[in-house]
Symmetry: D2
Subunit: 149 residues, 4 copies
């Protein structure tokens, strides 16, 4: 699933990401868009934590779902859009770190259903640490005006 996205795909994804207030709220940045692969990064911020001071599972889910959703988005036609039907998240290590990287990749493309897998990493000094994984099921949607782009 590597290679260049369709001509407009990166632009559509960047514009769509920019229209997500929730991504702004958590300080997420879109740092990589390729055919089938999207990455999102964010800096640790105390306001994003749970009661033990670690990154909240909801923030991890938000970033992974967004990365997986746009990974699916990168492989569809320009007149279609993506809806997340469901996802599963495994939380493997506490969300402790200076920065976090979330990568979504298309595992199975399709004209109706796309499956994407995501990984979340904590980055400080030293090697990145795997903190979470996601498998998400996305539906390709056409002709719904409330879900354009």
């Amino acid at each position: 699933m590597t290679g260049f996205p369709p001509p407009d795909s990166a632009g559509r994804i960047t514009r769509s990401f920019g229209r997500q207030p929730a991504m702004k709220l958590i300080g997420a940045e879109l740092t990589r868009v390729e055919h089938g692969t999207v990455e999102i990064e964010l800096a640790f911020d105390e306001k994003l934590t749970q009661q033990h001071g670690f990154l909240h599972a909801g923030v991890i889910s938000a970033a992974l779902d967004t990365a997986c959703g746009y990974a699916a988005y990168s492989v569809i036609d320009a007149d279609a859009s993506i809806l997340t039907i469901e996802f599963k998240v495994n939380l493997m290590s506490p969300g402790r770190g200076e920065r976090f990287l979330f990568r979504g990749e298309v595992t199975k493309p399709g004209s109706n259903i796309i499956v994407a897998d995501g990984r979340g990493y904590a980055i400080s000094d030293g090697p990145a640490k795997l903190i979470a994984s996601m498998t998400g099921t996305m539906m390709v949607v056409r002709g719904r005006e409330d879900i354009a782009e």
Copy 2:
């Protein structure tokens, strides 16, 4: 799983919830704590939305995970704490509404592993609408100072 929580359980949960900056960030309130059942509510806010103007799946996940986690918390001993190992979320309807209610309930208590199920509802005029469900697996943790309460 109904009934009164252990004497201190509601207090511990309320205090712990109050120490979650991410819950404050999304404007979530703890509105019900019983033995095995916890509810969280939040008002619609444009800053919590994705690109189509609906509540972001990450916000839904954050609220459901918190409700399920505290539901598990309400059935354990006072010297233990809860870690979410994993969860699955099904997104059933767009997160459109004036307010949202998230209920977590313990399906299977246990001394090591607790399974909780959650449901999210959008509330406007008329009957509440089911927008999401969660099944989460929680681990009972003892003797870890970084995860007390």
Copy 3:
């Protein structure tokens, strides 16, 4: 989701179940078909066990997926069929018992996607014991000859 199924629904489900060699292999019987709810039962058999002598998780999954799939089937039109896209199973107690009951229920009907939840119980003397739960996502399929009924 209670009530009577569409006139032919129970008949279609019974016929379809009868065409599942894998259900015959594990000795499963279809014991209840209502609008939105389907139950499957099977007797303990040593050939269905894993290395500790408990019912194998794959057998539990097979029965729960079938119950959930037909529960979805019971709420769709006569010209449509159902495909399982994905499911999650929580194994809560060892599969120990004389008989097992698996119930699938539609949580969220839909014209494209149906979400069903299942529960598995071990039955011996005394009350039934919850051994497993499933949440499954089903797709409504039309016009595919390889997946009729």
Copy 4:
């Protein structure tokens, strides 16, 4: 997670697999055991199918869960055992083929919880086709006589 397993690990896994009647029932063979990776294969058999003639999702789950469970088993101490807590399966393509290969790999080792990912492939003429994926959460168990090996 590649490399040689602990001295006795492959032997323990092979013996344990041989004690699984359900694996015999579906004709599964253990074809690869390495540190963190286990593969299981089986031939298509009409008795393993659902109503459309494809491999039943329960058989796919049984094989993937077994591969993931033994992958976890391959990285633990000789005095411990493994219990599957939960798993999620995505069914990506119909289970059509002459043979099927199921690979389980440890994604995150741990002293209490191990996360493993599995992939299932249909094999006929031509390249193997991805038909299913699993993410499973396993618990490391010690001192339970009913779950030795």
